[in-house]
Protein backbone atom coordinates (compact mmCIF):
# COMPACT_ATOMS: atom_id res chain seq x y z
CA UNK A 1 0.00 0.00 0.00
CA UNK A 2 2.96 2.33 0.63
CA UNK A 3 4.13 1.87 -2.97
CA UNK A 4 0.62 2.54 -4.17
CA UNK A 5 0.49 5.74 -2.08
CA UNK A 6 3.83 6.79 -3.57
CA UNK A 7 2.46 6.29 -7.09
CA UNK A 8 -0.54 8.42 -6.17
CA UNK A 9 1.70 11.13 -4.69
CA UNK A 10 3.89 11.17 -7.80
CA UNK A 11 0.85 11.34 -10.06
CA UNK A 12 -0.93 14.04 -8.06
CA UNK A 13 0.80 17.17 -9.45
CA UNK A 14 0.03 16.06 -13.02
CA UNK A 15 -3.55 15.26 -12.10
CA UNK A 16 -3.98 18.72 -10.61
CA UNK A 17 -3.05 20.18 -14.00
CA UNK A 18 -6.17 18.47 -15.39
CA UNK A 19 -8.30 19.94 -12.64
CA UNK A 20 -11.53 19.15 -14.48
CA UNK A 21 -11.12 15.47 -13.62
CA UNK A 22 -10.39 16.28 -9.97
CA UNK A 23 -13.25 18.74 -9.61
CA UNK A 24 -15.62 16.10 -10.99
CA UNK A 25 -14.51 13.80 -8.19
CA UNK A 26 -14.79 16.57 -5.59
CA UNK A 27 -18.38 16.86 -6.72
CA UNK A 28 -18.93 13.08 -6.50
CA UNK A 29 -17.21 12.55 -3.16
CA UNK A 30 -17.86 15.93 -1.56
CA UNK A 31 -20.92 17.70 -2.92
CA UNK A 32 -22.93 14.50 -3.14
CA UNK A 33 -22.15 13.74 0.51
CA UNK A 34 -23.36 17.14 1.69
CA UNK A 35 -26.89 16.13 2.64
CA UNK A 36 -25.84 13.18 4.77
CA UNK A 37 -23.04 15.23 6.38
CA UNK A 38 -25.29 18.19 7.19
CA UNK A 39 -28.11 16.04 8.55
CA UNK A 40 -25.72 14.02 10.69
CA UNK A 41 -23.98 17.19 11.88
CA UNK A 42 -27.28 18.73 12.87
CA UNK A 43 -28.37 15.69 14.90
CA UNK A 44 -24.97 15.21 16.54
CA UNK A 45 -24.98 18.90 17.50
CA UNK A 46 -28.50 18.65 18.91
CA UNK A 47 -27.54 15.59 20.99
CA UNK A 48 -24.45 17.43 22.25
CA UNK A 49 -26.66 20.41 23.13
CA UNK A 50 -29.03 18.22 25.13
CA UNK A 51 -26.40 16.11 26.89
CA UNK A 52 -24.11 19.07 27.46
CA UNK A 53 -26.91 21.15 28.93
CA UNK A 54 -27.93 18.33 31.31
CA UNK A 55 -24.34 17.88 32.48
CA UNK A 56 -23.36 21.54 32.77
CA UNK A 57 -26.59 22.40 34.56
CA UNK A 58 -25.47 20.19 37.47
CA UNK A 59 -22.52 22.52 37.99
CA UNK A 60 -24.45 25.70 37.22
CA UNK A 61 -22.34 26.48 34.18
CA UNK A 62 -24.79 26.18 31.28
CA UNK A 63 -23.14 29.23 29.64
CA UNK A 64 -20.17 27.00 28.82
CA UNK A 65 -22.38 24.92 26.51
CA UNK A 66 -21.11 26.80 23.42
CA UNK A 67 -17.48 26.14 24.34
CA UNK A 68 -18.06 22.46 25.14
CA UNK A 69 -19.93 21.67 21.96
CA UNK A 70 -17.62 23.70 19.73
CA UNK A 71 -14.44 22.09 21.06
CA UNK A 72 -16.01 18.63 20.93
CA UNK A 73 -17.13 19.13 17.37
CA UNK A 74 -14.14 20.98 15.90
CA UNK A 75 -11.44 18.82 17.48
CA UNK A 76 -13.07 15.44 17.65
CA UNK A 77 -16.54 14.65 16.43
CA UNK A 78 -16.40 16.74 13.26
CA UNK A 79 -13.38 15.03 11.70
CA UNK A 80 -14.10 11.54 13.10
CA UNK A 81 -17.81 11.28 12.30
CA UNK A 82 -17.24 12.91 8.90
CA UNK A 83 -14.53 10.34 8.14
CA UNK A 84 -16.81 7.47 9.18
CA UNK A 85 -19.66 8.83 7.06
CA UNK A 86 -17.27 9.51 4.18
CA UNK A 87 -16.03 5.90 4.32
CA UNK A 88 -19.62 4.65 4.28
CA UNK A 89 -20.84 6.81 1.42
CA UNK A 90 -17.99 8.05 -0.79
CA UNK A 91 -15.44 5.35 0.14
CA UNK A 92 -17.71 2.48 -0.79
CA UNK A 93 -18.73 4.26 -4.00
CA UNK A 94 -15.06 4.74 -4.95
CA UNK A 95 -14.08 1.15 -4.17
CA UNK A 96 -17.02 -0.41 -5.98
CA UNK A 97 -16.71 1.92 -8.99
CA UNK A 98 -13.02 1.17 -9.50
CA UNK A 99 -13.56 -2.52 -8.70
CA UNK A 100 -16.31 -2.75 -11.31
CA UNK A 101 -14.11 -0.97 -13.82
CA UNK A 102 -11.54 -3.68 -13.19
CA UNK A 103 -14.15 -6.46 -13.44
CA UNK A 104 -15.55 -5.14 -16.73
CA UNK A 105 -12.10 -4.71 -18.33
CA UNK A 106 -12.37 -0.92 -18.43
CA UNK A 107 -8.99 -0.54 -16.73
CA UNK A 108 -7.45 -3.10 -19.11
CA UNK A 109 -8.97 -1.20 -22.04
CA UNK A 110 -7.30 1.98 -20.78
CA UNK A 111 -4.00 0.12 -20.48
CA UNK A 112 -4.47 -1.05 -24.07
CA UNK A 113 -5.12 2.53 -25.15
CA UNK A 114 -1.79 3.45 -23.53
CA UNK A 115 -3.58 5.42 -20.82
CA UNK A 116 -2.35 4.81 -17.29
CA UNK A 117 -5.48 3.94 -15.27
CA UNK A 118 -3.82 5.03 -12.03
CA UNK A 119 -3.19 8.48 -13.46
CA UNK A 120 -6.51 8.78 -15.26
CA UNK A 121 -8.90 7.06 -12.83
CA UNK A 122 -7.34 6.54 -9.41
CA UNK A 123 -5.41 9.75 -8.74
CA UNK A 124 -8.31 12.15 -9.48
CA UNK A 125 -10.60 10.11 -7.20
CA UNK A 126 -7.98 10.04 -4.46
CA UNK A 127 -7.43 13.80 -4.69
CA UNK A 128 -11.18 14.42 -4.80
CA UNK A 129 -11.51 12.58 -1.48
CA UNK A 130 -8.53 14.28 0.13
CA UNK A 131 -9.77 17.76 -0.82
CA UNK A 132 -13.39 17.03 0.12
CA UNK A 133 -12.78 15.66 3.60
CA UNK A 134 -11.63 18.86 5.43
CA UNK A 135 -14.41 20.83 3.74
CA UNK A 136 -17.02 18.27 4.78
CA UNK A 137 -15.63 18.16 8.34
CA UNK A 138 -15.81 21.97 8.56
CA UNK A 139 -19.42 21.92 7.34
CA UNK A 140 -20.25 19.12 9.78
CA UNK A 141 -18.83 21.11 12.73
CA UNK A 142 -20.57 24.31 11.63
CA UNK A 143 -23.97 22.67 11.31
CA UNK A 144 -23.34 20.78 14.57
CA UNK A 145 -22.70 24.02 16.44
CA UNK A 146 -25.90 25.41 14.96
CA UNK A 147 -27.75 22.27 16.18
CA UNK A 148 -26.34 22.69 19.70
CA UNK A 149 -27.36 26.34 19.65
CA UNK A 150 -30.84 25.35 18.51
CA UNK A 151 -31.29 23.11 21.56
CA UNK A 152 -29.27 25.10 24.10
CA UNK A 153 -30.34 28.64 23.26
CA UNK A 154 -33.72 28.27 21.56
CA UNK A 155 -35.18 25.47 23.64
CA UNK A 156 -33.24 25.31 26.94
CA UNK A 157 -32.93 29.10 27.09
CA UNK A 158 -29.19 29.33 27.64
CA UNK A 159 -28.17 32.95 27.20
CA UNK A 160 -27.27 33.49 23.55
CA UNK A 161 -24.59 36.08 24.34
CA UNK A 162 -22.85 33.72 26.76
CA UNK A 163 -23.14 30.79 24.34
CA UNK A 164 -21.40 32.61 21.49
CA UNK A 165 -18.97 34.81 23.44
CA UNK A 166 -17.62 31.95 25.55
CA UNK A 167 -17.21 29.89 22.43
CA UNK A 168 -15.24 32.67 20.72
CA UNK A 169 -13.09 33.22 23.78
CA UNK A 170 -12.26 29.56 24.43
CA UNK A 171 -11.87 27.95 21.01
CA UNK A 172 -8.38 28.79 19.81
CA UNK A 173 -6.57 28.44 16.54
CA UNK A 174 -4.77 25.36 17.94
CA UNK A 175 -8.12 23.61 18.35
CA UNK A 176 -9.10 24.46 14.80
CA UNK A 177 -5.70 23.34 13.51
CA UNK A 178 -6.12 20.00 15.25
CA UNK A 179 -9.44 19.53 13.49
CA UNK A 180 -7.95 20.47 10.12
CA UNK A 181 -4.95 18.16 10.54
CA UNK A 182 -7.19 15.29 11.60
CA UNK A 183 -9.61 15.70 8.72
CA UNK A 184 -6.75 15.97 6.21
CA UNK A 185 -5.09 12.81 7.49
CA UNK A 186 -8.42 10.99 7.65
CA UNK A 187 -9.07 12.16 4.09
CA UNK A 188 -5.78 10.68 2.88
CA UNK A 189 -6.35 7.43 4.81
CA UNK A 190 -9.99 6.86 3.81
CA UNK A 191 -9.45 7.80 0.15
CA UNK A 192 -6.30 5.69 -0.08
CA UNK A 193 -8.02 2.65 1.41
CA UNK A 194 -11.02 3.06 -0.93
CA UNK A 195 -9.03 3.41 -4.17
CA UNK A 196 -6.54 0.71 -3.14
CA UNK A 197 -9.26 -1.81 -2.31
CA UNK A 198 -11.11 -0.98 -5.55
CA UNK A 199 -8.01 -1.15 -7.74
CA UNK A 200 -6.88 -4.50 -6.37
CA UNK A 201 -10.36 -5.99 -6.03
CA UNK A 202 -10.82 -9.48 -7.41
CA UNK A 203 -12.61 -8.93 -10.75
CA UNK A 204 -15.83 -10.69 -9.75
CA UNK A 205 -19.10 -9.53 -8.19
CA UNK A 206 -18.08 -11.23 -4.95
CA UNK A 207 -14.61 -9.68 -5.08
CA UNK A 208 -16.02 -6.17 -5.54
CA UNK A 209 -18.43 -6.77 -2.65
CA UNK A 210 -15.58 -7.89 -0.42
CA UNK A 211 -13.48 -4.87 -1.41
CA UNK A 212 -16.37 -2.56 -0.52
CA UNK A 213 -16.81 -4.17 2.89
CA UNK A 214 -13.09 -4.04 3.58
CA UNK A 215 -13.08 -0.35 2.65
CA UNK A 216 -15.64 0.50 5.34
CA UNK A 217 -14.15 -1.69 8.06
CA UNK A 218 -10.52 -0.73 7.45
CA UNK A 219 -11.35 2.97 7.09
CA UNK A 220 -13.35 3.01 10.34
CA UNK A 221 -10.65 1.25 12.36
CA UNK A 222 -7.89 3.31 10.79
CA UNK A 223 -9.78 6.55 11.47
CA UNK A 224 -10.18 5.75 15.16
CA UNK A 225 -6.57 4.60 15.47
CA UNK A 226 -5.22 7.72 13.75
CA UNK A 227 -7.54 9.86 15.86
CA UNK A 228 -5.91 8.53 18.99
CA UNK A 229 -2.40 9.15 17.62
CA UNK A 230 -3.11 12.71 16.47
CA UNK A 231 -4.93 13.59 19.70
CA UNK A 232 -1.95 12.37 21.71
CA UNK A 233 0.36 14.36 19.43
CA UNK A 234 -1.56 17.60 20.01
CA UNK A 235 -1.67 17.27 23.80
Amino acid sequence: MVRFLLRLAIGSPRALLRFGLVSEQIFNAGAQSLVIIMLSGLFVGMVLGLQGFQLLQRFGSEEALGTATAIGLVKELGPVVTALLFAGRAGTALASEIGLMRATDQLSAMEMMAVDPIQRVVVPRFLGGVISMPLLAAIFSMVGIYGAQLIGVQIMHVDAGSFWSQMRASVGIRDINEGIVKSLIFGVACSLIAVFEGYYAEPTAEGVGRATTRTVVTSAVMTLFLDYLITAMFL
Binding site: D105, Q106, S108, M110, A114, R120
Partner: protein, 302 residues
Protein backbone atom coordinates in the same frame (compact mmCIF):
# COMPACT_ATOMS: atom_id res chain seq x y z
CA UNK B 1 -0.59 16.78 -38.57
CA UNK B 2 -1.34 15.02 -35.27
CA UNK B 3 0.18 16.82 -32.29
CA UNK B 4 1.02 14.24 -29.66
CA UNK B 5 0.56 15.10 -26.01
CA UNK B 6 3.09 12.47 -25.05
CA UNK B 7 6.05 10.89 -26.78
CA UNK B 8 4.96 9.74 -30.24
CA UNK B 9 5.38 6.02 -30.89
CA UNK B 10 8.65 4.90 -32.34
CA UNK B 11 8.68 2.58 -35.29
CA UNK B 12 11.27 -0.12 -34.65
CA UNK B 13 12.31 -2.17 -37.62
CA UNK B 14 10.82 -5.62 -37.82
CA UNK B 15 13.06 -8.63 -37.83
CA UNK B 16 13.14 -11.14 -40.60
CA UNK B 17 11.97 -14.70 -40.22
CA UNK B 18 9.46 -17.22 -41.49
CA UNK B 19 5.76 -16.43 -40.98
CA UNK B 20 4.85 -19.97 -39.96
CA UNK B 21 6.21 -22.35 -37.35
CA UNK B 22 8.53 -25.04 -38.63
CA UNK B 23 6.84 -27.94 -40.30
CA UNK B 24 3.71 -26.00 -41.26
CA UNK B 25 2.75 -24.70 -44.65
CA UNK B 26 0.88 -21.60 -45.68
CA UNK B 27 -0.40 -20.66 -49.09
CA UNK B 28 -0.39 -16.87 -49.18
CA UNK B 29 -3.42 -15.10 -50.61
CA UNK B 30 -1.45 -12.08 -51.64
CA UNK B 31 2.13 -11.10 -52.21
CA UNK B 32 3.67 -10.06 -48.96
CA UNK B 33 7.10 -9.87 -47.54
CA UNK B 34 7.28 -13.54 -46.56
CA UNK B 35 9.80 -12.82 -43.85
CA UNK B 36 7.91 -10.11 -42.12
CA UNK B 37 6.16 -11.13 -38.90
CA UNK B 38 4.49 -8.61 -36.67
CA UNK B 39 4.32 -11.02 -33.72
CA UNK B 40 6.75 -13.80 -32.93
CA UNK B 41 6.29 -16.06 -29.96
CA UNK B 42 9.11 -18.36 -28.92
CA UNK B 43 9.09 -21.25 -26.41
CA UNK B 44 6.46 -19.55 -24.31
CA UNK B 45 5.31 -21.11 -21.07
CA UNK B 46 2.51 -19.68 -18.99
CA UNK B 47 0.54 -21.08 -16.10
CA UNK B 48 -2.15 -19.82 -13.76
CA UNK B 49 -2.46 -21.15 -10.20
CA UNK B 50 -0.26 -24.10 -11.07
CA UNK B 51 -2.34 -24.99 -14.17
CA UNK B 52 -0.30 -24.86 -17.34
CA UNK B 53 -1.98 -22.81 -20.09
CA UNK B 54 0.84 -22.78 -22.66
CA UNK B 55 3.66 -25.29 -22.95
CA UNK B 56 6.58 -24.32 -25.14
CA UNK B 57 4.32 -22.39 -27.51
CA UNK B 58 5.88 -20.94 -30.65
CA UNK B 59 4.07 -19.11 -33.42
CA UNK B 60 4.57 -16.31 -35.91
CA UNK B 61 1.84 -13.94 -36.94
CA UNK B 62 2.50 -12.43 -40.36
CA UNK B 63 2.17 -8.74 -41.06
CA UNK B 64 -0.67 -7.43 -43.17
CA UNK B 65 -2.91 -10.48 -42.85
CA UNK B 66 -6.00 -11.47 -40.94
CA UNK B 67 -4.84 -14.21 -38.60
CA UNK B 68 -7.36 -16.20 -36.63
CA UNK B 69 -6.59 -17.95 -33.36
CA UNK B 70 -9.08 -20.70 -32.71
CA UNK B 71 -9.46 -23.54 -30.29
CA UNK B 72 -11.77 -25.17 -27.77
CA UNK B 73 -12.88 -23.23 -24.70
CA UNK B 74 -10.25 -22.89 -22.02
CA UNK B 75 -7.27 -23.29 -24.34
CA UNK B 76 -6.01 -19.78 -23.54
CA UNK B 77 -6.93 -17.84 -26.69
CA UNK B 78 -7.74 -14.66 -24.79
CA UNK B 79 -4.72 -15.23 -22.56
CA UNK B 80 -2.59 -15.36 -25.70
CA UNK B 81 -3.86 -11.91 -26.69
CA UNK B 82 -3.07 -10.65 -23.20
CA UNK B 83 0.45 -12.04 -23.51
CA UNK B 84 0.94 -10.36 -26.89
CA UNK B 85 -0.12 -7.04 -25.40
CA UNK B 86 1.77 -7.66 -22.11
CA UNK B 87 -1.31 -7.43 -19.98
CA UNK B 88 0.07 -10.60 -18.43
CA UNK B 89 3.67 -11.83 -18.40
CA UNK B 90 4.87 -15.29 -19.43
CA UNK B 91 6.67 -17.63 -17.02
CA UNK B 92 9.36 -18.11 -19.66
CA UNK B 93 9.90 -17.64 -23.38
CA UNK B 94 9.59 -14.49 -25.41
CA UNK B 95 7.04 -12.42 -27.28
CA UNK B 96 8.36 -10.11 -29.99
CA UNK B 97 6.04 -7.48 -31.40
CA UNK B 98 7.32 -5.76 -34.52
CA UNK B 99 10.80 -7.03 -33.76
CA UNK B 100 10.89 -5.87 -30.15
CA UNK B 101 10.98 -8.23 -27.20
CA UNK B 102 8.17 -6.70 -25.17
CA UNK B 103 9.57 -8.10 -21.92
CA UNK B 104 12.51 -5.73 -22.24
CA UNK B 105 10.36 -2.62 -22.71
CA UNK B 106 9.82 -0.08 -19.96
CA UNK B 107 6.24 0.85 -19.09
CA UNK B 108 6.45 4.02 -21.18
CA UNK B 109 7.92 2.16 -24.15
CA UNK B 110 5.17 -0.45 -23.84
CA UNK B 111 2.60 2.34 -23.86
CA UNK B 112 4.27 3.77 -26.98
CA UNK B 113 3.96 0.35 -28.61
CA UNK B 114 0.33 0.00 -27.52
CA UNK B 115 -0.51 3.29 -29.19
CA UNK B 116 0.12 1.42 -32.43
CA UNK B 117 -2.31 -1.33 -31.43
CA UNK B 118 -6.05 -1.45 -31.07
CA UNK B 119 -7.89 -4.08 -29.10
CA UNK B 120 -11.52 -5.04 -29.14
CA UNK B 121 -12.40 -6.66 -25.83
CA UNK B 122 -14.88 -9.50 -25.58
CA UNK B 123 -17.39 -7.38 -23.64
CA UNK B 124 -16.56 -4.10 -25.33
CA UNK B 125 -15.06 -2.62 -22.13
CA UNK B 126 -16.56 0.80 -22.83
CA UNK B 127 -16.04 3.42 -20.15
CA UNK B 128 -19.44 3.47 -18.49
CA UNK B 129 -19.33 7.10 -17.36
CA UNK B 130 -18.79 8.44 -20.90
CA UNK B 131 -21.18 8.71 -23.84
CA UNK B 132 -20.62 6.75 -27.04
CA UNK B 133 -19.04 9.83 -28.62
CA UNK B 134 -16.71 10.42 -25.67
CA UNK B 135 -15.74 6.76 -25.57
CA UNK B 136 -14.58 6.84 -29.18
CA UNK B 137 -12.94 10.24 -28.69
CA UNK B 138 -11.16 9.06 -25.52
CA UNK B 139 -7.84 7.94 -27.11
CA UNK B 140 -7.74 11.09 -29.27
CA UNK B 141 -8.27 13.35 -26.26
CA UNK B 142 -5.67 11.47 -24.20
CA UNK B 143 -2.93 11.31 -26.82
CA UNK B 144 -3.39 14.20 -29.20
CA UNK B 145 -4.15 17.89 -29.13
CA UNK B 146 -6.39 17.86 -32.15
CA UNK B 147 -8.98 20.62 -32.43
CA UNK B 148 -12.47 19.69 -31.31
CA UNK B 149 -13.81 19.95 -34.86
CA UNK B 150 -11.34 17.38 -36.14
CA UNK B 151 -11.98 15.05 -33.20
CA UNK B 152 -15.70 15.22 -33.98
CA UNK B 153 -15.01 14.50 -37.64
CA UNK B 154 -12.82 11.48 -36.85
CA UNK B 155 -15.25 10.07 -34.29
CA UNK B 156 -18.22 10.44 -36.61
CA UNK B 157 -16.29 8.77 -39.43
CA UNK B 158 -15.47 5.75 -37.28
CA UNK B 159 -18.98 5.51 -35.87
CA UNK B 160 -20.39 5.72 -39.39
CA UNK B 161 -18.20 2.76 -40.34
CA UNK B 162 -19.78 0.63 -37.60
CA UNK B 163 -23.26 2.00 -38.26
CA UNK B 164 -23.71 3.81 -34.97
CA UNK B 165 -23.32 7.47 -35.91
CA UNK B 166 -26.85 8.04 -34.65
CA UNK B 167 -25.98 6.72 -31.19
CA UNK B 168 -23.39 9.32 -30.23
CA UNK B 169 -25.31 10.64 -27.24
CA UNK B 170 -26.24 7.26 -25.76
CA UNK B 171 -24.56 5.95 -22.62
CA UNK B 172 -23.01 2.44 -22.70
CA UNK B 173 -25.78 1.16 -20.38
CA UNK B 174 -28.30 2.03 -23.10
CA UNK B 175 -26.57 -0.12 -25.74
CA UNK B 176 -27.11 -3.79 -26.51
CA UNK B 177 -24.14 -6.16 -26.30
CA UNK B 178 -23.64 -6.08 -30.06
CA UNK B 179 -23.85 -2.29 -30.20
CA UNK B 180 -21.31 -2.00 -27.37
CA UNK B 181 -18.90 -4.14 -29.30
CA UNK B 182 -19.35 -2.05 -32.44
CA UNK B 183 -18.67 1.15 -30.48
CA UNK B 184 -15.61 -0.54 -28.97
CA UNK B 185 -14.46 -1.40 -32.49
CA UNK B 186 -14.85 2.25 -33.53
CA UNK B 187 -12.75 3.22 -30.49
CA UNK B 188 -10.13 0.58 -31.33
CA UNK B 189 -9.62 1.97 -34.84
CA UNK B 190 -9.88 5.67 -34.07
CA UNK B 191 -6.10 6.05 -33.68
CA UNK B 192 -5.49 4.15 -36.95
CA UNK B 193 -3.50 1.31 -35.36
CA UNK B 194 -1.11 -0.96 -37.22
CA UNK B 195 -2.16 -4.04 -35.31
CA UNK B 196 -5.79 -4.68 -34.49
CA UNK B 197 -6.68 -7.41 -32.03
CA UNK B 198 -10.20 -8.79 -31.77
CA UNK B 199 -11.23 -10.91 -28.82
CA UNK B 200 -14.35 -12.89 -29.76
CA UNK B 201 -15.82 -10.14 -31.96
CA UNK B 202 -18.86 -12.14 -33.07
CA UNK B 203 -20.31 -13.19 -29.73
CA UNK B 204 -23.89 -11.99 -29.32
CA UNK B 205 -24.08 -10.27 -32.70
CA UNK B 206 -27.15 -10.61 -34.88
CA UNK B 207 -26.50 -11.87 -38.44
CA UNK B 208 -26.62 -8.36 -39.90
CA UNK B 209 -24.11 -6.94 -37.42
CA UNK B 210 -21.95 -10.03 -37.79
CA UNK B 211 -21.84 -9.60 -41.55
CA UNK B 212 -20.96 -5.92 -41.15
CA UNK B 213 -18.20 -6.67 -38.65
CA UNK B 214 -16.80 -9.45 -40.84
CA UNK B 215 -16.64 -7.18 -43.85
CA UNK B 216 -15.21 -4.40 -41.68
CA UNK B 217 -12.40 -6.64 -40.40
CA UNK B 218 -11.46 -7.53 -43.95
CA UNK B 219 -11.87 -4.01 -45.32
CA UNK B 220 -9.91 -2.35 -42.52
CA UNK B 221 -7.15 -4.86 -42.92
CA UNK B 222 -6.85 -4.43 -46.67
CA UNK B 223 -7.57 -0.72 -47.05
CA UNK B 224 -5.45 0.51 -44.15
CA UNK B 225 -2.74 -2.11 -44.42
CA UNK B 226 -3.31 -3.33 -40.88
CA UNK B 227 -2.55 -6.65 -39.32
CA UNK B 228 -5.52 -8.28 -37.63
CA UNK B 229 -5.52 -11.02 -35.01
CA UNK B 230 -8.95 -12.48 -34.37
CA UNK B 231 -9.75 -14.85 -31.56
CA UNK B 232 -12.97 -16.67 -32.27
CA UNK B 233 -14.91 -19.93 -31.98
CA UNK B 234 -16.97 -19.24 -35.07
CA UNK B 235 -15.44 -21.58 -37.63
CA UNK B 236 -17.71 -20.62 -40.54
CA UNK B 237 -17.48 -16.88 -40.03
CA UNK B 238 -13.77 -16.79 -39.46
CA UNK B 239 -13.18 -18.93 -42.55
CA UNK B 240 -14.57 -16.13 -44.69
CA UNK B 241 -12.10 -13.49 -43.51
CA UNK B 242 -8.98 -15.20 -42.18
CA UNK B 243 -5.86 -15.64 -44.29
CA UNK B 244 -4.24 -17.88 -41.73
CA UNK B 245 -5.62 -19.90 -38.83
CA UNK B 246 -3.81 -21.17 -35.75
CA UNK B 247 -5.63 -23.91 -33.92
CA UNK B 248 -4.67 -24.17 -30.26
CA UNK B 249 -5.23 -27.12 -28.00
CA UNK B 250 -3.48 -28.39 -24.90
CA UNK B 251 -1.34 -25.29 -24.65
CA UNK B 252 0.20 -25.68 -28.10
CA UNK B 253 -0.48 -24.96 -31.76
CA UNK B 254 -1.90 -28.18 -33.17
CA UNK B 255 -2.48 -26.92 -36.69
CA UNK B 256 -1.76 -23.92 -38.88
CA UNK B 257 -2.89 -23.06 -42.36
CA UNK B 258 -5.51 -21.34 -44.42
CA UNK B 259 -9.13 -22.10 -43.45
CA UNK B 260 -9.41 -24.32 -46.53
CA UNK B 261 -6.29 -26.25 -45.54
CA UNK B 262 -7.63 -26.78 -42.05
CA UNK B 263 -10.90 -28.19 -43.39
CA UNK B 264 -8.96 -31.12 -44.84
CA UNK B 265 -6.20 -31.23 -42.23
CA UNK B 266 -5.14 -34.81 -41.44
CA UNK B 267 -5.69 -34.62 -37.71
CA UNK B 268 -8.47 -35.92 -35.46
CA UNK B 269 -8.46 -32.87 -33.24
CA UNK B 270 -8.72 -30.46 -36.19
CA UNK B 271 -11.52 -32.51 -37.74
CA UNK B 272 -13.38 -32.53 -34.44
CA UNK B 273 -13.07 -28.78 -33.97
CA UNK B 274 -13.77 -27.71 -37.54
CA UNK B 275 -16.72 -30.12 -37.74
CA UNK B 276 -18.07 -29.28 -34.29
CA UNK B 277 -18.12 -32.96 -33.26
CA UNK B 278 -18.78 -34.03 -29.65
CA UNK B 279 -16.62 -37.15 -29.92
CA UNK B 280 -12.92 -36.82 -30.47
CA UNK B 281 -9.64 -36.11 -28.74
CA UNK B 282 -11.03 -32.98 -27.06
CA UNK B 283 -13.43 -34.18 -24.34
CA UNK B 284 -16.78 -32.41 -24.22
CA UNK B 285 -17.23 -33.33 -20.55
CA UNK B 286 -15.15 -31.93 -17.73
CA UNK B 287 -13.55 -34.84 -15.83
CA UNK B 288 -16.19 -36.33 -13.51
CA UNK B 289 -17.05 -39.62 -11.75
CA UNK B 290 -19.06 -42.23 -13.64
CA UNK B 291 -22.44 -40.72 -14.56
CA UNK B 292 -24.96 -43.42 -13.58
CA UNK B 293 -23.00 -44.30 -10.50
CA UNK B 294 -23.22 -40.71 -9.33
CA UNK B 295 -26.91 -40.48 -10.21
CA UNK B 296 -27.64 -43.62 -8.16
CA UNK B 297 -25.47 -42.32 -5.32
CA UNK B 298 -23.13 -45.36 -5.35
CA UNK B 299 -19.91 -43.43 -4.99
CA UNK B 300 -21.22 -40.51 -3.07
CA UNK B 301 -23.48 -39.92 -0.14
CA UNK B 302 -25.50 -37.19 -1.85
Amino acid sequence: MVRWKTRPPELPKSNESSPCPAGRTLTPKKTLNQNSNIVEIRALNYSVSGRSIFKDLSMNIPRGRVTAVMGPSGTGKTTLLRLITRQVRPDSGSVHVDGTDIETLSRLDMYALRRRMGMLFQNGALLTDLTVFENVAFPLREHTELPERLIRHLVLTKLQAVGLRGAIDLMPAELSGGMSRRVALARAIVMDPELLIYDEPFVGLDPISMGVILRLIRRLNDALGLTSIVVSHDVQEISTVADLVFLLSGGQVVATGTPQQLQSYPSEIVRQFMGGLADGPVPFHYPAPEYFGELLGRDGET
